[in-house]
Symmetry: C2
Subunit: 373 residues, 2 copies
């Protein structure tokens, strides 16, 4: 990777400020907080940066239509890192009065990147969609599709390809096979799909992603800019959340390394044990910690609470008591591990309720267009 | 181009033998002539080489199904060079009892290579399809489609992409933009479409092309080989015809240079004048020609007669009288020019009859799938 962000890697971004500076990504400011401050992700700085989010904020304020688009590569269950995106997707749907919540099941990417056949993706997708519904998505106001069966997305990939040199592809994505490049073009098609005439035409669109996905955003904004005169496309906006770290504290939470993450499908007891083994910001001894306090900025356990488990007040108390040395890692972990188990148990219960609905949605998406291959 | 054949260039192949040797393309032999010798293209050596045509010959002999696939880039009317492919397509359809004649209107290639919008391609395609019908195609036993609206083709492009390295793409096609590479993958999808389950599944397929299109054939055969275990695909067969030379005798007949060719849409009087100005195999003076004879192997006028205008007997007479010095270029040109004008007038008449049918076919193809973009 020549430019420092790799959407297919498992490395963690070490210096967010440097990356933002280099790529012209901006911090969430006060004015945006007035619109989106109702969300814990924004309030807690989990979503910390954006491109052109003002365009979506204006739409929210004036009650005009906007779209939200995201997706998942269906190579396994959601984990806490990817589930963050699902929650943001649901949030932006709730803030919109319109029905432009568009969700891509990235079976083309699963094929190009992992060699996973489309029919396997279809099986896995049921679980992914159930997670999405359990997270609160209103399926009546959403469009969920498979990349391999969305001709409009593929056609936009074809349109976008003209005028992109291989030098650009290499600069944005590094040296790859033609399959991953094609997968990237398909993602451009995904991100622009909400602006297709069939879906109501050009409109502001927000793409909530982890900051490592910014190469896709940049490429899509370039394409949309070039296509503006013909298709009237609006450059998509984006929000960026911090990448959840591995439970071991090093890399980002990644499906490629099962020990690094808690899956939404994990047994709650297993998840409990994973939290108990997680990396913290504690000192070497209890005595030292009481004296100097812990460091929540380094602590994965604090991160779990911040992203998924605690409300604002609880989180503030956790922070204060940690840095003051009042709260030690042992009892803290036990408390968070219990909350984690509860969270997963509750999610699993909701998921069971919506699973038949998820099966229907996936079946309909997989049967669209035509059969075979 | 690192390997000597460039499907997007206007250069002429100078040494067919060398190219055949290098890429493992074989001559049409006696055994194949027993099956296909009813066709003037085969008899006259216009179609001179092939890959795996035995597979199709066996199907013809045993009455089993086989498919023929070709297409056109709809950036202008057919000319005598591309029309050769159309005639071969019609021939292979007539030899088949089944309905697997598949024709791609390559609007994706027109976009990637020429920046021509899909709606423009749609307009031009009416004329192309009318040419095809006038050439004798039975539309009841053919499937005619736009690349941009064929999801099965696009999906096969996506499937094919995995496992092709950029090194391979560069070796086969040279250094190109991502758009032309994508267009090449779409062509792989075109060539394999007749084997899609919706079209009756795996079967022998013949792709009649000019030899400069062999890179597409090689890439597709590689892909089909890799896909055999999963999709049961049969490696497509191909036939190769000589490239028609420019009327000026240098490069191949090409749409990119209007002075080099006779278009099927040319006014017959203009075509007459073009033949009168064409490059021949004549000597410097009439006296010299009477003494030494002419050289039909270098003569573009002879080529016109051989590809499109004369029957076997007439052609043999033309050759004999040319090499003996009995037939001089002036009267010969006049005769061929008149036949050319007649040929175009007759074609135009048939075209007028089938135009409403062509309009209906194109409209149906363009309305399939979904709208927009």
């Amino acid at each position: 990777m020549s430019e420092g962000l790799d959407p297919w890697a498992t490395t963690l971004v070490s210096d967010y400020e440097e990356v933002m500076e280099r790529f012209g990504i901006r911090r969430i400011d006060e004015k945006l907080m007035e619109v989106f401050g109702d969300s814990p992700f924004f309030r807690r700085g989990v979503i910390f940066a954006h491109r052109d989010l003002e365009r979506v904020a204006d739409a929210v304020i004036s009650g005009r239509e906007y779209a939200v688009i995201t997706g998942i590569k269906p190579t396994g269950p959601y984990h806490l890192g990817t589930f963050q995106t699902a929650k943001e997707f649901v949030y932006f749907q709730k803030r919109s009065t319109a029905s432009s919540a568009v969700f891509a099941i990235a079976d083309v990417e699963a094929w190009e990147d992992n060699g996973q056949f489309f029919d396997v993706s279809r099986e896995v997708a049921v679980d992914n969609v159930a997670d999405l519904l359990a997270a609160g998505l209103d399926p009546e106001r959403a469009y969920i599709y498979f990349q391999s069966r969305e001709a409009r997305v593929q056609r936009m990939a074809v349109i976008a390809a003209r005028g992109i040199t291989m030098a650009t592809m290499r600069a944005v994505y590094g040296e790859r096979g033609i399959g991953l490049y094609l997968s990237a073009l398909i993602q451009v098609g995904d991100i622009l799909l909400p602006q297709h005439p069939d879906l109501g035409g050009p409109k502001p669109t927000v793409v909530p992603v982890g900051i490592d996905q910014d190469p896709h955003i940049r490429l899509t904004r370039d394409v949309a800019g070039r296509m503006r005169s013909r298709y009237g496309l609006v450059e998509p906006s984006s929000t960026y959340h911090l990448l959840m770290r591995s439970l071991l504290g090093d890399k980002k939470m990644s499906k490629r390394d099962p020990m690094s993450f808690i899956s939404m499908a994990d047994d709650p007891d297993l998840a409990y044990r994973k939290v108990m083994n997680a990396f913290t910001g504690g000192r070497d001894t209890a005595e030292e910690q009481r004296r100097l306090g812990g460091d929540p900025t380094r602590c994965v356990v604090y991160e779990l609470a911040r992203f998924h488990l605690y409300d604002d007040e609880e989180l503030k108390e956790m922070w204060d008591k940690c840095v003051s040395g009042e709260r030690l890692c042992g009892p803290c972990k036990r408390e968070v591990a219990e909350r984690m188990a509860l969270f997963l148990r509750e999610h699993r219960r909701r998921k069971e309720e919506v699973r038949p609905q998820a099966e229907k949605i996936v079946e309909a998406a997989a049967e669209s267009l035509n059969s075979g291959w």
